[in-house]
């Protein structure tokens, strides 16, 4: 202990304490406790918020046994719902991937006025409620909509039919591919492309042989996210579909209706199917994400 006389209110000067005394005061031990606590809280939160509900639906979906699952899948409404979801997903992912890459190239490599605005536009669908997206489609193509006379004259059905469902799902899925590809493009720089040009490759050849392989993991990551989003869409398609049972009902809309009409078991089973597919997607998402990060270095 320090034998120096000092004001009682002042702490002992650091250099007067011995190393052991300092160590005891240090928070190395406290630090470990704090970290353990943080870890516990984090794990608990994730368990309660994310995993428990997942467990719940697995339990309830499987509760009535495999027979019930078989029966549910034999229902024509259910089959059609899955089919519709699949078709919408396919078209959406194809469109958003192709255009998404083009937009990403534009954002990452080109300089033009209003680039900031374009970037904000790309991110906009993330912030807009899907209900509002559905509304937009109704305002454009529905009764007394802007394009109503145009499409009525040609006898095409957009609202209350597949085309509008696809359109709104595309709108909602626009950001994903762009957002994941842009940073990869920025990381990569343009040198490899320039090298390809000096070697005589046309812009198209360069894109397919140099750019695309270099962005593939970021691109796949974006596609996986986009797929998950397209499958899970409910708010916007609800509004534009008209809920025509057996005709314009996606898997998610089926769940909604089934639950409303107290066919809970079917709802849970279809939901569980979607959840299972999402887990598969999640595995893909995590794999692509890891490979993308490893690659950009």
């Amino acid at each position: 202990m320090s034998t120096q006389t000092r004001e009682p209110s002042q702490p002992a000067p650091i250099d007067r304490l011995t190393v052991t005394e300092r160590a005891r005061n240090s928070d190395a031990g406290r630090g470990r406790l704090a970290r353990g606590l943080m870890l516990a809280v984090a794990l608990l939160y994730v368990l309660a918020l994310l995993l428990a509900p997942l467990g719940g639906i697995i339990f309830y979906g499987l509760k009535s046994g495999l027979g019930a699952i078989g029966r549910t899948f034999s229902l024509p409404d259910v089959r059609h719902a899955f089919y519709l979801t699949f078709v919408i997903m396919l078209v959406t992912v194809a469109v958003t991937t192709a255009f998404g890459v083009v937009v990403a190239l534009l954002l990452a490599r080109d300089r033009f006025p209003g680039k900031r605005l374009v970037s904000a536009l790309v991110n906009l669908p993330l912030a807009v409620s899907p209900v509002i997206v559905g509304l937009m489609a109704v305002l454009l193509f529905g009764r007394s909509g802007w394009f109503e006379s145009f499409i009525a004259a040609r006898g095409i059905q957009i609202i209350f039919a597949l085309p509008s469902m696809i359109l709104v799902t595309i709108f909602i899925s626009i950001p994903f591919v762009v957002r994941e590809v842009v940073p990869v493009l920025e990381e990569l720089g343009m040198e490899e492309e320039q090298a390809a040009w000096t070697l005589g490759a046309s812009r198209l050849q360069t894109f397919f042989r140099v750019t695309l392989p270099n962005i593939r993991w970021g691109l796949l990551y974006g596609i996986a996210l986009s797929t998950a989003r397209a499958i899970g869409e409910v708010g916007a398609v609800l509004i534009v579909s008209g809920l025509l049972q057996g005709r314009t009902e996606t898997a998610t809309l089926y769940i909604l209706r089934a639950f409303d009409q107290f066919q809970e078991q079917q709802a849970y089973i279809v939901a569980l199917t979607l959840a299972a597919f999402s887990i598969l997607l999640l595995i893909g998402i995590e794999t692509f994400k890891r490979k993308r990060t490893r690659e950009a270095s």
Partner: protein, 296 residues
Amino acid sequence: MAQATIERETKRPSGRVRRRPGAALGPWPLRGVALLYLGLFILLPVAAILQRGFGNGLMNLRDAMTSLGAWNAIRLTLVTAALTAIINGVLGTLLAYVLVRIRFPGRDLLSAVVDLPFAVPTLVAGLMLVALYGPNSTLGGWLEHHGIHIIFAPLGILLALLFVTLPLVVRSVQPVLLELDPAEEEAARVLGAGGWTTFRKVVFPALRPAIAGGALLAFSRSLGEFGAIVIVAGNIPNKTLTAPVFISQLINPTNYGGSGGPDQAAAVSALLFGLSFVLVLLTEKLVSSPSKGSES
């Protein structure tokens, strides 16, 4: 190197600003296609909402707000969104910190689980909550017995929003944490600062923009959430009716009885939408400016 493991996004010195030869995409046609795509899909619908909603001045808005539960729907949405942003702002940051700084078995698995809400359809998420806390489940029954109402109550809405927005905050904070130079914290420790002080004075200021950005993302996402809420909440006007569900009811008034129509829905949507857009811009600024500054 201890820290250079999981998902370390190592920055190559690509900071040399190479002057690009004119338009990287080449001729205008390609630029045009991209801009057309964006213009058609995004600008056009936005214009439609604004025109239909406010084409007749504020009349549509006023009529919309006279519907049952209108004001409370907006209030409920704002409150739950704010709570979600705050709670996940804190817990999401904690999660990010744990994922980046603490090594433990199963860290990769935890990281994957955090992304679960990105993969699962929102409707299914809501159904999961009903399965877990619904009146038919054991847990739900027990909670109801003790007076805690989750399904068909605001608490359920909150849980659904927390579920959906958690990864937004975590993924916003995580990369910034990874970028932080541990040398700064080590310097603080060498100078005698304890763990909490180091966090407060060195780590937190650097994370602040990312946390704010993530929280804002969570907030704006919560404003518009539909799928996760529509089953869980029960949509009871003035009690558990949120703005997005309210708007969906307005659009097809015949389904729900009462006046309404797309124009009124457009007016309310434009408000909600305007708020979202401002938030998007704010988030862009917050998230991009400080990190870009340290990248060059």
